[in-house]
Amino acid sequence: MTEPLLSIEGLKTHFFGYDGLVRAVDGVDLEVNPGEVLGLVGESGCGKTVTALSVMRLVDAPGRIVGGTIRFDRRDLLSLSASEMAQVRGAEIAMIFQQPKVSLNPVMRVGRQIAEQFIRRRGMDEAAAWKEAIGLLAAVGIPAPEAKARAYPHELSGGQAQRVMIAIALSLKPKLLIADEPTTALDVTVQAQVLALLRERCKALGTSLILVTHDLGVVAQVADRVAVMYAGQVVEQAPVERLFEAPEHPYTRGLLGSIPVLGALKPRLVEIPGNVPTLDGVSVGCRFAARCGERLRVGSRCETEAPPVIARGPGLQVRCWLADPAAADKERALA
C-alpha cells in the first residue's frame, strides 16, 4: 500500500468563543492518498469546513487547533513555523471556497492575479508569468483567455470566477487541493461543468482533492472515497460505491433515505428526527444517539459510551456500536 499523502489523527479544533467552548472538530481521523478524490460530507456545523481550514492552518481566533496531528507529505504540519506553513500553502496545498467572487481581489485583473503566483513564488518575469496565466485560463475552459485575462472579477459570471479560482489554486501544481463547497453557489448546469473540470484537472496534475460538500449527489459524482462527518467527528469512511450501496452508519443511511433521487420516486422520504446539534456541550455517548432510529438495537450503551472507530474492511471505518462484532452477537441473542 502506498503511504497516504495526508493523514490526520485525532484532530481537535475548538472555538473559545464569547458564549463558551464550541468543539467544532473533536477527534477527526482522515487519510487522503496521492491522486485521490476524498468527499467530505456533512451538514452545517458538523465541522467539515473547520477540518479543511485546520489542514491549511487557517483557523482564525477564537478557534484553535488543540490536539491531534496532521501529517502531510512526511511532515508534521502542526509543528511548522508560520513562514514554513506559508510556503506550503498555495505551493503544496491550495484551497478554493464557496464564493469565488469574494475570494478574488476586486481591483486586480484576473490574469494578473494568476500571474502573481508565478512572479512571487516561482520568480518568473512579468511577460512569462502572463503567458502562463493565459495558458491556465485556457486550461480551465475560459473562452477567449487573452481577453478574459484583462477582465476584472466583477465582469465574470459565477462559473467563470470559480474557474479562475481553480486556475489560481492549481497554478503551482499543488499536491493537495481542498475545495470547500465549490459549486454550492452555482446553478446546476454550471455546477456540472465546474465539477467535471475540477475532477479532470486534478487527475491530469495528479493532485489529490478534498471535496467538502453537503450534497450527496456531488460526492457520488466526483469522489473516490467518502468521509461522512457528524457533530465534529467522522462517523463513516468508505469507498464511494460501498458508501452509497451499503451505508453502515445509521446517520449515513438516514441521509441517503432523506433525499429525493432523480428518477427513483420514493413514496415518502425518510426523516431524521430532531435538529442538527450544536457543539457547545460535553457528550458522553454517541453524538447521534438522540436522533438515531436504530439505537434500540444496541441498547443503552449508545447513550453512555462513545463508540470507537471500528474498522470494517479495507478503507471502511464506522463509528457506531452497531458495527461492533459484540453488538451483532447481542442482537442475535435478543432475536
Binding site: 460535553v282 453524538r287 438522540a290 447513550e303
Partner: protein, 295 residues
C-alpha cells in the same frame, strides 16, 4: 451526561430570552465598561436632582477672602476667582449637563425620527422633499448651524439647548430613513404584506421595533456630542451666562487663570471629560448588546 441529556440541557439554556428589555439590561450588567459608565451617569442624575441638598457650600456664595484657593481639605477642588467652592459648583453643574442631554437629544430625536420615518415609508415625492431639506442642513458645519440658530434665537442656555437639538435633527433623520428603507426590504415585511397587512400595521409591528435599537445606539453616541456642543456654545458666551455653574461657562471664566490657578479650569474640564467618557462607555456597551453585527 448522555447526549440525550445534553440535548435537553441545550434546550433548557435556550429558554433564556435573547431579546426584550430584561435581557438587554442583564447583558449590559455583565459588561464592566457599562457598569462604570452607568454608575457615573447615575451619579450625574442624582446630582442633577438633589445636589443642593448635599453640596458642602452654596455654589453662588461669593467670598472674596477665599479667592483662587488651591484644592485643600476644606475645598476639595479649590475655589474660583470669586471664592466660590468649585466642587459645589461642579456638582450643581451636573444639572445643566443632564438638562442639555434631555432637551437637545429629545428635540433632535423626536423630530429627526419622525422625518426619517415619513421619508423612508411615505411616497417618493415626500422622501425627496424631506431629504433635500436635510441635505441643506447637513451642508452647514454643525457648530455653524447652532451659531446661526442662536443668532436668530438670542443667547441663553435654553436657546443653546434648542439649537443643539435642531442641529442634531439631520443625523437622526438620515439614519432612520436608511434603516426604514432597509427593513422594508426584509422578507418578514413581505410576509406581513402577504398576510394582508397595510402600511400602518407594517410600520408599528415590523419597522419600528427593528429600527428602535439603531436609534438607541445612535442616541447614546449623539448625546455626548450634543453636550460638548452646548458646552462649546457656553464657552463662546452664547449659551449659559454667568453666574450659572454650567461647566462650559465655568471654563470660560477659568481661562483667564489658566496659568495662575489651574484648578479653576481643571474642575469643570474633568467633569466634562468624565461624563462624556461615561456616556461613551455606556454607548459602546449598548451597541455591543443591541447590534449583533458589531460582534
Amino acid at each position: 451526561m448522555s447526549s440525550l441529556a445534553l440535548e435537553r440541557a441545550v434546550e433548557a439554556r435556550a429558554v433564556i430570552r435573547r431579546a426584550g428589555w430584561r435581557w438587554t439590561l442583564r447583558q449590559l450588567f455583565r459588561k464592566r465598561t457599562a457598569l462604570i459608565g452607568g454608575a457615573v451617569v447615575l451619579f450625574l442624575i442624582v446630582c442633577a436632582l438633589w445636589a443642593p441638598d448635599f453640596v458642602p457650600y452654596d455654589p453662588f456664595k461669593v467670598n472674596t477672602l477665599n479667592r483662587l484657593k488651591p484644592p485643600s481639605a476644606a475645598h476639595w477642588l479649590g475655589t474660583d476667582e470669586l471664592g466660590r467652592d468649585l466642587l459645589s459648583r461642579v456638582l450643581i453643574g451636573a444639572r445643566f449637563f443632564v438638562l442639555v442631554c434631555l432637551i437637545s437629544v429629545s428635540i433632535a430625536a423626536s423630530v429627526g425620527v419622525f422625518l426619517g420615518l415619513i421619508a423612508g415609508s411615505g411616497p417618493s415625492w415626500l422622501d425627496v422633499a424631506v431629504m433635500r431639506v436635510i441635505d441643506v442642513m447637513l451642508a452647514f458645519p454643525y457648530i455653524l448651524l447652532t451659531l446661526a440658530i442662536i443668532a436668530i434665537l438670542g443667547p441663553s442656555l435654553w436657546m443653546a439647548m434648542i439649537s443643539v437639538g435642531i442641529a442634531g435633527i439631520p443625523g437622526y433623520a438620515r439614519l432612520v430613513r436608511g434603516e426604514v428603507l432597509a427593513v422594508k426590504q426584509e422578507e418578514y415585511v413581505e410576509a406581513m404584506r402577504a398576510l394582508g397587512a397595510g402600511p400602518a400595521a407594517i410600520m408599528v409591528r415590523a419597522i419600528l421595533p427593528n429600527v428602535a435599537s439603531s436609534i438607541i445606539i445612535y442616541m447614546s453616541f449623539q448625546m455626548p456630542l450634543a453636550v460638548l456642543a452646548a458646552a462649546a456654545l457656553s464657552f463662546l458666551g452664547l449659551g449659559a451666562q454667568p453666574p450659572l455653574p454650567e461647566w462650559g461657562a465655568m471654563l470660560v471664566n477659568a481661562r483667564t487663570f489658566l496659568r495662575t490657578a489651574w484648578w479653576t479650569s481643571a474642575a469643570p474640564g474633568l467633569a466634562i471629560f468624565v461624563s462624556i467618557l461615561a456616556l461613551n462607555l455606556l454607548g459602546n456597551a449598548l451597541r455591543d448588546v443591541l447590534d449583533p453585527k458589531s460582534k
